[in-house]
């Protein structure tokens, strides 16, 4: 009995735990996402999906508790937390001239290749990238610190069918390699069926409804 209790608490501590999360007059939200799984989230624009991802990555003030694998958000500094719980915005912005300047830990060539780039991509100028190229590179940029939790805000919205499959496969492989987890926001329920273990919809009043 004692053993199974200990097991239960260990399991409960694993993954991303969101408890009584409130931000910007929204919530409370409480849910848990186990390691190596994907939490699918959809909902019409303006329902607050992005705000929730921002709060979980501690970019907006919140009340309640958020923890990842037993580590409470508040026990780390903001930047340390965001290195573990990484938010991928719907549209990526770039501030240096070249792709390479945005990488302080150069990803492996294998990763570049898997997303359809060669090594020379680091020399490319940002101004010459297409929207789809920017998005795929933004995913590589996000993974520099090897985050254990990804908050993906419509990660494939700007991609063509071919690249959608490539990116889905790449992210799922990353998650299974490092026992990571993700919140995956998408308007495509077919995509969420493919990648996510469960599918919640955010209603206009901000509440979460489980679809699957």
């Amino acid at each position: 009995m004692a053993k199974s209790n200990a097991d239960a608490s260990r399991i409960a501590m694993n993954g991303l735990i969101v408890d009584q999360l409130r931000f910007m007059h929204r919530g409370p939200y409480s849910f848990g996402i186990p390691s190596s799984s994907v939490f699918g989230l959809s909902g019409s624009s303006g329902s607050g999906k992005t705000l929730m991802l921002r709060a979980i990555s501690d970019l907006d003030p919140y009340t309640g508790r958020i923890s990842l694998n037993g580590i409470d958000c508040q026990s780390l500094s903001g930047p340390e937390w965001r290195q573990k719980v990484a938010w991928l915005p719907a549209e990526s912005l770039w501030w240096h001239e070249t792709v390479g300047a945005h990488f302080w830990k150069r990803p492996s060539l294998e990763w570049f290749n898997e997303l359809g780039f060669g090594e020379e991509v680091t020399q490319w100028e940002i101004s010459r990238l297409s929207t789809g190229e920017k998005q795929r590179l933004a995913i590589l940029r996000l993974l520099q610190h090897h985050p254990a939790a990804l908050l993906l805000d419509e990660p494939t919205a700007s991609l063509d069918k071919n690249n959608i499959a490539v990116v889905e496969k790449f992210i799922l492989k990353y998650l299974s390699d490092c026992q990571g987890l993700a919140v995956w926001v998408s308007h495509d329920s077919g995509q969420l069926d493919r990648v996510a273990a469960c599918h919640y919809a955010m209603q206009l009043d901000g509440s979460l409804r489980q679809l699957r």
């Binding site: 990555s57 970019l59 003030p61 903001g78 930047p79 965001r82 990484a86 990526s92 610190h145």
Partner: protein
């Protein structure tokens, strides 16, 4: 030897040039005639008043009187810096960030120079203390206003970009690193340029004044070099301090960008 005195007639002759410029602006719809005339009027009134005040202050070497003049100068400079910000800190910080940076940089440098370099007795002798703080403030004010305006405007315009840098796990300092550098440079470039051009292109105002008043050029030059060093260091330290205070307002303890909470567009 004394300066040839100027009377009201000579000054009004010179004012005709300003009026001519205002007329040109009016005719060609440059729409700068109103601020130009108001500024010219302010210069006349403010300088005439300060002339009267300074005569009184110079006559009595009274520390508290000198102190009062300094406080008035600093407050005016603080307001001027505030007025030049497009994106301002909310609350009293909109005045105090600029004013305290100028207090720390200009004031301490002035005391240092008066007491240790010029060694005037007493150190607050108004004939030295007031013009020197005036020159320091006038220049640090420009530098600080330029730097603060650049910093807050750039941060405001690029706030989405700063947040994406934070989202990648960068610290607050790293996320505004390039904006910080650009703002410090913007604040310091005018004084660096004027140091580089001094003597070749321009004879700085203080030196010109001393020469007109009959001092030897070598004496005037030594004072001018001293003033240039004071101004450039005072501007640099003041700029860094003001941007440091401003950056503290941009982020909270969790390194979240709080532009919308702490700043507003005026």
């Amino acid at each position: 030897m004394n300066v040839i005195p100027l009377g009201a007639f000579e000054l009004s002759l010179a004012s005709l040039l300003v009026l001519l410029l205002a007329w040109l602006s009016f005719r060609t719809r440059l729409e700068i005639e109103k601020p130009l005339l108001i500024a010219a009027l302010r210069t006349t009134v403010q300088l005439s008043l300060i002339g009267v005040v300074l005569n009184t202050v110079f006559a009595s070497v009274n520390f508290w009187l000198v102190m009062l003049v300094w406080v008035v100068m600093l407050t005016a400079a603080g307001y001027e810096v505030m007025a030049r910000q497009k994106v301002r800190v909310k609350g009293p910080g909109r005045f105090f960030i600029g004013a305290s940076s100028m207090l720390v940089s200009s004031f301490s440098i002035m005391v240092l120079i008066l007491a240790l370099v010029i060694k005037v007795e007493p150190w607050y002798s108004p004939r030295y203390a007031i013009p020197i703080l005036g020159m320091l403030l006038g220049n640090t004010m420009n530098g600080i206003a330029l730097a603060m305006n650049t910093f807050s405007s750039l941060a405001w315009n690029r706030r989405a970009m700063i947040e994406q840098r934070l989202a990648l796990g960068q610290t607050a300092i790293a996320a505004v690193e390039d904006i910080w550098r650009e703002s410090v440079r913007t604040g310091l470039i005018p004084i660096i340029n004027s140091m580089a051009a001094a003597g070749l292109v321009s004879l700085p105002g203080m030196m010109t004044g001393q020469i007109l008043a009959g001092n030897t050029a070598t004496d005037a030059v030594r004072y001018q070099i001293l003033i240039m060093f004071m101004i450039s260091s005072g501007t640099g330290f003041g700029v860094i301090l003001s941007l440091w205070l401003m950056r503290r307002r941009m982020f909270d303890g969790r390194s979240r960008l709080r532009m919308r909470d702490s700043f507003h567009v005026s």
